[in-house]
Every structure is written in structure tokens, then in C-alpha cells.
Symmetry: C2
Subunit: 317 residues, 2 copies
């Protein structure tokens, strides 16, 4: 039996999975990424872990898909640059993996692959045009046009996190201001909560008791506090949702998708985040594209590996 391998490279850990052509995971493993070492060493470690995995499964590798949180030239299979893997500039992962494995290798941005995985498995490729947002620490995106992953001229299409929703607004990690990510990524949401609490030190909030050290405040806690009725936490989610709504509305106007697909850990906040999004979309004056676009929030959170492997299957077929 053949499997494809999906590899999701994070700044700290790398997930590796053996995936069927239908997107089912047969085995998974995690190894440390060690971005301080060379990318060739990383590839060698992944390959030896893969050999172990396939021999345990009694499977052959048909193809390899690799997702990286950075600027990827998917045509050449090269990581140009990734903020969390800053020593690995301009490295050809396709060449490196195919030298070891002699199999087709697809390399892409991790958000593109997450969206592709959910598109194939969860949406069953039914809608032809989809915009996907991956709400993690930052905000990534992936676009499906006419049933295919849309990469644009340099493989950078779908960099949704740095669309500006509020000119001169909240500072973003990228150096710009008012990016969607600065409002709807966990990093930005947590920063907003801290700022609210610090700006009004006497305003009562559960969060102060939960986090004597505000540096430790996180989205999971904000979620709990909001569900217990904490006004500060609710305000933070409301603000995040409103800005996310502004960003999604712009994407719907530009791309006119059938589905806006939401992935990523931040989406666990559910209605706290998406009620304001839906209200904003319902209030848009130009109805046609909004009447057609449904917002779907995926409940699974391991689409990166699945999408990588499924893209590899496309390359094999």
C-alpha cells in the first residue's frame, strides 16, 4: 500500500503524518525542528523518522508534501524566507527530500496547505471558489479558484493576514499597522486584552485574578473569562470579531467565494468571535456576493499535514 507524507514544519516542532489518498491519517509523529541546525540536517532527520514510520506501517511513500510558515516558491520547491526559521533562507526542500526519497515533493506555504486539506476533505471540493483563513498566532490564508489552489505570480497569493483593515491602526509584527493579523491572530488578540487591562487599571475583570502576570494571558483564558461573562474579555472578542468581519467582507468583495473557510486555534472561541463577524457581513450594503458566501468554521485543527499530503497526491496522480 502507498501513502503520501504530510510534513508541517513549525518553529519548534514538526509534525509528520502518513496519509491516504482520501486524506485519512494512518500514523503521526512529531520531531523537534531545531532551526539552529542546517535545513539539510533537518531533512535527514525527517527522512529517517519517515523510514521508521513506513516500515512500521508496511507502506511505500508515493509522494511528499511540506508546509512552511513563510515565503515559499512552490514552483521550485524553495523556502525563500520564514520569520521563525530565519537561518533557512533560500533552501530547496524539493531537491533535498527527493534526493533522499526519489519521490515527487510539493512545498508550499502552511496556510495554503491547511486550506487545501480542509477544502478537499471537509468541503469535498464542492464549492469552486473558497477563501480560507487560518487564525493562529498570526493569520494566514489560502485561496481556491476554480477548484485549484491559487498561488499567484510568486506563490505569495493569500497573504491575508497583512491586508490592512484599519489604516494607522494596531501595530503588527510585520512592521506595518492595522493588519488583519494584528486584530485576529492570537498574538494581536492577547495584546489587545493586555492593553485594555493596563489602560484602565481599576476596571474589574476576572482576567486580573486569572493572570496575576498579564504576560501569561492567552486566548484560551480569554475564552473562559468571556463565557463567564467577563466584560473585558467579551469586549476583546467583539473587537477581534469586528475587525475580522471587515477583513472577510473585503475578501468577499474581491474574490466572491462560495465559502469562507475558517481554520486555526483561535476559531475555538466560536460565537464570541464569529457572531460579530456574521453581524458585520449581514450589514453589508452590496448583497449579492454576501448572500452567496457562507462562513464555515472547521472543528479540526490538523489540516496542515493532511493538506500537504493531499497536495503530494495531486503531484503523484
Amino acid at each position: 500500500m502507498e501513502i503520501s507524507v504530510g510534513i508541517d514544519v513549525g518553529g519548534t516542532l514538526t509534525k509528520v503524518a502518513a496519509v491516504t489518498a482520501q486524506g485519512r491519517i494512518l500514523a503521526e509523529a512529531e520531531i523537534p525542528t531545531k532551526p539552529g541546525q542546517s535545513p539539510s540536517e533537518f531533512v535527514a532527520r525527517v527522512v529517517s523518522r519517515l523510514h521508521l514510520m513506513t516500515s512500521e506501517l508496511g507502506c511505500e511513500i508515493a509522494g511528499v508534501g511540506l508546509g512552511l510558515a513563510g515565503d515559499v516558491d512552490s514552483e521550485k520547491g524553495v523556502l525563500r524566507f520564514a520569520p521563525s526559521l530565519s537561518g533557512w533562507k533560500q533552501f530547496n526542500f524539493r531537491q533535498a527530500f527527493s534526493r533522499h526519497l526519489k519521490r515527487p515533493v510539493e512545498v508550499d506555504n502552511d496556510a495554503n496547505l491547511g486550506v487545501w486539506g480542509a477544502y478537499v476533505v471537509e468541503l469535498k471540493r464542492k464549492p469552486r471558489n473558497v477563501v480560507g483563513l487560518a487564525l493562529g498566532t498570526g493569520v494566514g490564508g489560502g485561496i481556491v479558484v476554480d477548484g485549484k489552489l491559487f498561488r499567484g505570480a510568486t506563490g505569495s497569493a493569500g497573504e491575508i493576514g497583512h491586508v490592512v483593515v484599519s489604516e494607522g491602526g494596531a501595530p503588527c509584527r510585520c512592521g506595518s499597522k492595522g493588519c488583519l493579523e494584528a486584530y485576529a491572530g492570537s498574538y494581536g488578540i492577547e495584546r489587545q486584552a493586555r492593553e485594555l487591562l493596563e489602560a484602565k487599571p481599576r476596571r474589574p475583570s476576572l482576567l486580573r485574578r486569572m493572570y496575576p502576570d498579564l504576560a501569561k494571558l492567552d486566548c484560551a483564558g480569554l475564552d473562559r473569562a468571556a463565557r463567564q461573562g467577563d466584560a473585558v474579555a467579551r469586549e476583546v472578542w467583539e473587537t477581534a470579531g469586528r475587525h475580522l468581519g471587515v477583513g472577510i467582507a473585503s475578501l468577499v468583495l474581491v474574490l466572491n467565494p462560495e465559502v469562507v473557510l475558517i481554520l486555526g486555534g483561535v476559531s475555538r472561541a466560536g460565537g464570541l468571535l464569529f457572531d460579530p463577524v456574521r453581524r458585520h457581513l449581514a450589514a453589508q450594503p452590496f448583497r449579492t456576493p454576501f448572500a452567496k458566501a457562507s462562513v464555515r468554521v472547521s472543528k479540526r485543527h490538523n489540516w496542515g499535514c493532511i493538506g500537504a499530503a493531499l497536495l503530494a497526491w495531486e503531484g503523484v496522480a
Copy 2:
């Protein structure tokens, strides 16, 4: 010899042109639109003008392309709604024209068609991915993906004018706030100039002498005043350009085009408008998509008819 007919329907005047398959205009005419009459009467008047034109040219009509400034279902050839043609809701222009002419009829949003015309004739279809902005009274847009006009799920893709660049910002004609159009369409630019002059009644400006009645202030005058060094006029163009830069940057991040194509009368302002755009794009932290995307400003202003006719040729071929 065969020609295709390009029809560009404005709120007041409708332009009609006989166009070769290479996009050359052989004859042009204008007729009043009269949106108070029924759309069937409009179609009958256009058709009789076309018969006159083709008999003068000694040509046959191969196909018809029609552009409308509104929400068009290009698949069915139906105008759903247009703000400036508010009596013509849900009218099937394809059916109406083909009943008279027995030829293939393409119906689309006017900005889509303008961008398509400039893409085919001026860019010679060389770049595969293009974002086009039509800067007129409002701001329209058209997107070319992989050499084809991208319409999205309901034909609404490319509604770039209502992308929000500044949440809660300048009021837009659509009812929202902070839309790109509220800053970079002539309507918004002129409003900004008036507001600046009214907010500081003692601030000296050439514009006050040029326009004793500020309601008559227009972009052509703002252009002249700025070229004569008027600080208010220069500030208005700078603001428009900066917001246009923010909007274009977001489009480049989402769509990663090879060319950002600018059409429409407002672009006559040249460097006054585009220097701040280029500065904003040059300052973007994520370089790859911006290094690839060149901003091209078209010098011609009749792309609507040409694009409509060229799209009709595609349908004929």
C-alpha cells in the same frame, strides 16, 4: 468583414463601438441612455443605431458585448441591479439583444470589461495574473487569473472599490465607511478637498479663487491647482494616493499579481496620485509579491467598449 460590438452603458450616455478582433475601433457613436424608459426600449434604440453603423461600414456583427456599472450575472446575461439605472433591475440583456441580432451576447460589469480590454490590447495578455482598478467617480475593479477574467461565484469578484482601507473612515456612497472608493474615486477626492477647505476657512488656496462655489470643484481643477504648487490640492492628492496605496498593497498580498493595471479618468493626476502609491508599496515589509508587481497606468480611457467587444469575440471564437 465581421466586427464585434462593444456597448458601454453609462447613467447618462451609452457608447457603442464597432471593434475588430484585434481591439481596433472602426466606428463609434453615443446615444442617450434614458434610464427612465424601459430597458427593452433602450435595447431597441441601440440595435437601430447598430444597424446604421454596420450598414455604413459594410460589416456584419459577429457578437455583442455589453458593460454595465452594476451587479451583473454574467453567466445568465442579467443586470441584477445598478445604482445609476435603478429602474432596470433583473433585466436579461443577453436575451433582449440576441432576440434582435441572433448573435452571441456577453454581459458584464463595466470595470471587468475595461480591465479586460486593457489586458488584451495594452498588456497583450502577457502577464497571467492582473488586478485592474478603474478610478472614475467610484472605483471599480477587474481581476485576471491565469489569463482569464475572474468572476467568482456570482460575477461579483473584483468589487475593489468597497474594500475597507480605514475602518470607520470616510463615508462612502454605499453606506459603509472607509471604502477605497471614498478616498480614490473622484467623488471622494472632491469631497475631501471641500472638507479641507471648509474646515480651515482661512487657509489660503488657489482652489478658493478657482471655485467661488466649492460644489463645482473637480479633479481636473485639483490637478491644475496642485501642479501650480497649491498646498491644499497637493495634500488632497497625497491623501488619496496613500489610501490607494493601502488598498493596492492589500490586493497585491491577496492576489499576488504581476501587474496592477490602473484605468480611469482620475489616473490623469499622474505622479500626484501615484508617487504616494509607489512610496507606500516600496515600504511594504514582505518584499516578494511587491518586487514582482508592477503598477501600470493606462493612458487611454475608452477601454469599456473595447473590452466588451473583445469579450464578445471570445464568445464567438
